[in-house]
Symmetry: none
DNA sequence: GTGGTCTAGACCACC
DNA sequence: GTGGTCTAGACCACG
């Protein structure tokens, strides 16, 4: 998985990292139980401080995307995939995010079909979630 | 238009304000040329510092959502609605945003139809963009 | 509120800090909405790095004990006090903690009355939770 | 005795092990003088490194919960059960632990009776300490 | 080897 | 003024 970071942007590096890893998981590039690069490794690869990577991992852990197995480092942990809106807080966040993006798109001149096509493409990107690497 | 601000929370107040106004425009609550509340009016209503509101307006202006009319203050300025991806930088940002949201949704267990339904609902919210009130 | 830190102990400083503040809230030394000392202030008082204090505050925030109002810094935020075991994860943690402490006490020779007296004293310490300082 | 270990999570494995064994002793599942499983036996059962189990046993020994019998390995050694607060360091630790748990419970909305009921249940768990199996 | 903690000091965004 | 971010580098506990 290739991660590109924009050091000069306004989004904190650790958050960009968190976002990219979430996208990677969503794209199916990590199976359930698969290990992420070590903190030091990733920090060296990206040329950032290891505390920055560590913070991204802690963030992912607190959100339930990964666990840090004391033996193996950070591993992806996909939740049980039950009904969609089990987490109302997430649903609200999702709705709000989609409303903002769609408003911007609408104002820029997007038609509904174009917007939905992009949504569809985003959701279908990657090879789907894969289970069982643990 | 009612705006709710969360003073705790990660998103800066001025950005929340900017976001809510963009959503409002997207929902069609402002016609092209319609005036926004004055900075100090809005600041008083929300109980925030007027510099914060000012910054939000500055941000909207630099993004082309509003213009500053000497007499009437800040007015909404909808762009000509040309082809969708005229602005490649915006397209990239939109794609990235959708990819992140869809990844989170996928991991949470959303199926494609559910996600697309939410996208569709978000886009259709409000009464559509209205032109020419100036 | 006086906080004493054991720099040489095995509990991380930020966690000791978090614990002491939770105890302080439990003792009723902070009303709902009351501001905590600033990060820098507390760091200076305790002679520790401000990132350490910051980490303690972030921990408290992620657990819902405080919020960080962008204007006023960190403020105590007491949750609605509804039914006791609303949070099953917490209940489990509490049970486990009590089982461990009671086992140690039993082995040390405590009788039930002695143990319960200490539990009672611990719960009643301070002047109770106080609301409304917002 | 069944021991469950959480390899992710903040508490080191050897400490979880130590805690579970202390709980087991408190519940009366080990008579005075009864032998614990061998280090490598327990390590194999739990799927952890035997050094980890060894460290847990070392910890228990230094705290006086077990002794190392040359023939039989680690055996439980209950102290004479004298007056409660013979060990002031332990009393302080116990008080501090109870204060923390009770503060968390109070903030979560527990009433005193509920909390005391849980304390009582924790203390009474198991079949009491049994002496003299050695 | 791993992640976690801590420091000292810097810079920045926000309000 | 506030908290948040980041760095470089150190040390430690865990397994």
């Amino acid at each position: 998985m290739i991660i590109r970071i924009d050091v000069s942007g306004d989004i904190p590096i650790y958050m960009q990292l968190r976002n990219e890893i979430v996208k990677g998981i969503g794209r199916g590039e990590f199976a359930d139980g698969e290990a992420l690069p070590t903190v030091r490794q990733l920090a060296a690869d990206l040329g950032v401080n290891s505390m920055t990577v560590s913070k991204a991992y802690q963030c992912l852990r607190s959100e339930g995307y990964i666990e840090t197995d004391r033996r193996r480092g950070a591993v992806v942990r996909l939740p049980e995939r039950d009904s969609a809106c089990a987490d109302p807080a997430f649903c609200e966040r999702l709705e709000s995010g989609l409303e903002l993006l769609s408003a911007e798109a609408k104002i820029k001149g997007f038609r509904k079909e174009e917007f939905i096509r992009m949504c569809s493409a985003a959701f279908e990107g990657g090879r789907g979630l894969t289970a069982d690497a643990g």
